[in-house]
C-alpha cells in the first residue's frame, strides 16, 4: 500500500500502455517498410498503435497470457521500428565510449531482452484502449522528433505516451519512450549507474544477464 491515489491508477494503465506502445513500434513488416518510411512520424505512430492494439485484442491466445505468442509478436513487429542500439547507448552513457563491440552488443541484447520480456506481460491486459495524437509543435523537416499520443480506455485515466524518434535511412525509429512524464532512457540511466560504478560495463552486462535469467525462470 505504498502508492498514492493519483499514481495508482495511472501506473496500472501506464504499464499496459508501455507494453502496447512497444508493440506499436513496428507493425509494418518488411513488405510495408517502403511506404511507411516516408510517412510523417506522428501518422506512422498513430497508425501502428491502432493496428497493434487491434491485433492484440483480436488474439485470444495473447489475451490468455500465452507468453511465447507474445514474444513472437514482439520479435516480429518491434525490432524493425525501435533503434535499440541508440536506446542502449544513450542509457549507458559515457562508459559506452570505452566499451568494446562485443560488450556493446551484449549490452544492447540484454537491455532489449529485459524490456521485451518484462513489458510483454502487460500486453495481455489490453482491453479497449484507443490511441489519440496530442499536438506537437514545429517539427517539420526535423530528423529527430517527439510524437505525443494519449491512450484512452473506458476505465482509468488517459495515459500520456510520448515517443522520441530519429529519421534513419531505414525509416523513422523509436529510441525513447515517455509514459506519464517518465522517460525510459532517463529512468534506466540511473538504474545502470550503480552496476557501472561497482564494476564497469562487464558488471552491468552481468547484472542484466542475471536479471533476465530470473525473469525467464519466473515466467516458465
Amino acid at each position: 500500500m505504498h502508492a498514492s491515489n493519483s499514481q495508482v491508477r495511472a501506473r496500472r494503465a501506464a504499464y499496459t500502455a508501455l507494453a502496447a506502445s512497444l508493440l506499436c513500434a513496428a507493425v509494418a513488416g518488411p513488405a510495408r517498410a517502403d511506404g511507411a518510411d516516408d510517412a510523417a512520424p506522428d501518422q506512422m505512430i498513430l497508425q501502428l498503435s491502432t493496428q497493434v492494439l487491434e491485433e492484440i485484442r483480436g488474439d485470444k491466445a495473447i489475451q490468455a497470457g500465452d507468453f511465447a505468442r507474445v514474444e513472437k509478436l514482439v520479435n516480429e513487429r518491434i525490432l524493425p521500428r525501435v533503434d535499440f542500439d541508440k536506446m542502449t547507448r544513450l542509457t549507458v552513457g559515457r562508459p559506452w565510449r570505452a566499451a568494446t563491440p562485443e560488450q556493446r552488443s551484449a549490452l544492447t541484447e540484454e537491455f532489449r531482452n529485459l524490456l521485451m520480456r518484462t513489458y510483454s506481460g502487460a500486453l495481455s491486459k489490453v482491453s479497449d484502449q484507443k490511441v489519440r495524437l496530442r499536438p506537437s509543435h514545429g517539427q517539420d523537416g526535423a530528423s529527430d522528433v517527439i510524437v505525443r499520443t494519449q491512450i484512452v480506455a473506458s476505465q482509468g485515466d488517459p495515459v500520456a505516451l510520448d515517443y522520441r524518434l530519429e529519421k534513419t535511412p531505414a525509416g523513422w525509429k523509436i529510441y525513447d519512450l515517455n509514459i506519464l512524464g517518465v522517460w525510459l532512457v532517463e529512468n534506466y540511466k540511473s538504474e545502470f549507474l550503480e552496476p557501472l560504478n561497482q564494476g564497469g560495463v562487464d558488471n552491468l552486462i552481468k547484472v542484466l544477464k542475471e536479471k533476465n535469467r530470473k525473469v525467464v525462470a519466473a515466467k516458465s
Partner: protein, 285 residues
C-alpha cells in the same frame, strides 16, 4: 496522496510488519550520493518496511478485496472516491490559476454526482471532461516551491519534503473523507479506499519488480520524473537533452578518458570506465 492513517494504528502496524519479516535493507555502497536523495539510507529502510508490509498485509488484503467484490462494485466504489477527490482537484486547479481545468473539474463533480448517481458512474469522461488529478504539493510546485529531498513515507510510499507538507491541506482541508464524523468512520472509509487503490495496481506492482534492476531507484527516479512533469504540466517539449556518447564533446569539456568509440583494449578501458562513471551522476532534480 492523502494521509489516511494516523499515530496509533500506524505504529502498531509498523511493529507488526517488522516482526513478521525484519526491516533491514541492503544499502548499496553509493547510497546518499544522489543530490535529490540525501536521505537514501533511511529511505531504503522505510522502503524495506513498506515492502514487507505490502507483501504480508497489503497484497493479501488487496487480493481478498478483488475476490470478494465483483468488478462492477469495485469500479463503482473507485469512481465514488475519484468523484470525492474532484473537490481537491478543483481547489488546486483554482490555486494554480488554471481556469479551464477548474471548470472541467467542477463540471465533472456536478455531472458525476447527479447523472452518475453519487459518483458511481463516470459519465463525465465519455462526455469529454477528462479527469486531472491535482494535489497541494504540485500546486506549491507551480508557485515555485522547490521539490525538496526525496522521502519514502511509512505505508504511503514515495514523496518529497514539499509533497509531504502538501498532505496536510490535502487531507484536512480538501478531502471529503476527512470530514466524516465520528472519527473512526474516517479510518474505515479510508482503509476501503486504500484497499481499492492497492487492488487496482496488483499487476503493475509485479511488473515493477520485473522491470527494475533496483526497485528502490526505479521507483524513486520514476516518481521524481513524473512529479516534475506534473508540475510543468507536461508543457510543450519537456524532453531533457540526452547526452549521446557517440557525439563529440563540446569544446571546453574534459577529453574522454579512453580511446574514441572504435575498438579499445578491454583491460585499459575496463579500468577507465568505472572511474568515469561517477561523473555521470544524474543532475540535481
Amino acid at each position: 496522496m492523502s494521509g489516511h492513517l494516523r499515530g496509533g494504528p500506524a505504529a502498531i502496524l509498523f511493529a507488526a510488519a517488522c516482526a513478521l519479516g525484519g526491516c533491514a535493507a541492503t544499502i548499496p555502497p553509493g547510497a546518499g550520493g544522489n543530490p535529490a536523495d540525501p536521505f537514501e539510507r533511511v529511505n531504503r529502510h522505510i522502503d524495506a518496511f513498506n515492502t514487507r508490509f505490502d507483501e504480508n498485509v497489503g497484497q493479501p488484503a488487496a487480493r481478498g478485496y478483488n475476490a470478494v467484490l465483483p468488478r462492477v462494485l469495485r469500479d463503482c466504489l473507485s469512481n465514488i472516491f475519484d468523484n470525492l477527490a474532484e473537490v481537491g482537484n478543483l481547489f488546486n486547479a483554482t490555486l494554480q490559476a488554471k481556469a479551464g481545468e477548474a471548470a472541467r473539474d467542477a463540471g465533472r463533480l456536478l455531472i458525476n454526482s447527479t447523472v452518475g448517481i453519487g459518483g458511481c458512474f463516470d459519465v463525465a469522461t465519455p462526455a469529454g471532461l477528462e479527469r486531472k488529478r491535482q494535489n497541494f504539493g504540485v500546486t506549491m510546485g507551480t508557485w515555485g516551491v522547490p521539490q525538496g529531498a526525496y522521502l519514502v513515507l511509512p505505508l504511503l510510499g514515495p514523496s518529497t519534503v514539499r509533497q509531504t507538507a502538501g498532505l496536510i491541506p490535502d487531507f484536512y482541508l480538501t478531502d471529503p473523507v476527512g470530514y466524516l464524523r465520528p472519527a473512526k468512520d474516517v479510518y474505515y472509509v479510508g482503509t476501503v479506499r486504500l484497499l481499492g487503490d492497492r487492488a487496482a495496481i496488483l499487476d503493475a506492482s509485479r511488473l515493477v519488480d520485473e522491470a527494475a534492476l533496483d526497485r528502490y531507484t526505479f521507483l524513486r527516479d520514476g516518481y521524481l520524473q513524473r512529479l516534475r512533469s506534473r508540475v510543468n504540466d507536461g508543457s510543450g517539449m519537456s524532453a531533457p537533452p540526452i547526452e549521446d556518447p557517440d557525439a563529440p564533446d563540446p569544446p571546453g569539456d574534459a577529453p574522454p578518458p579512453a580511446a574514441p568509440p572504435a575498438v579499445a583494449p578491454p583491460g585499459a578501458t575496463a579500468a577507465a570506465a568505472p572511474a568515469d562513471a561517477p561523473a555521470d551522476a544524474p543532475p540535481a532534480r
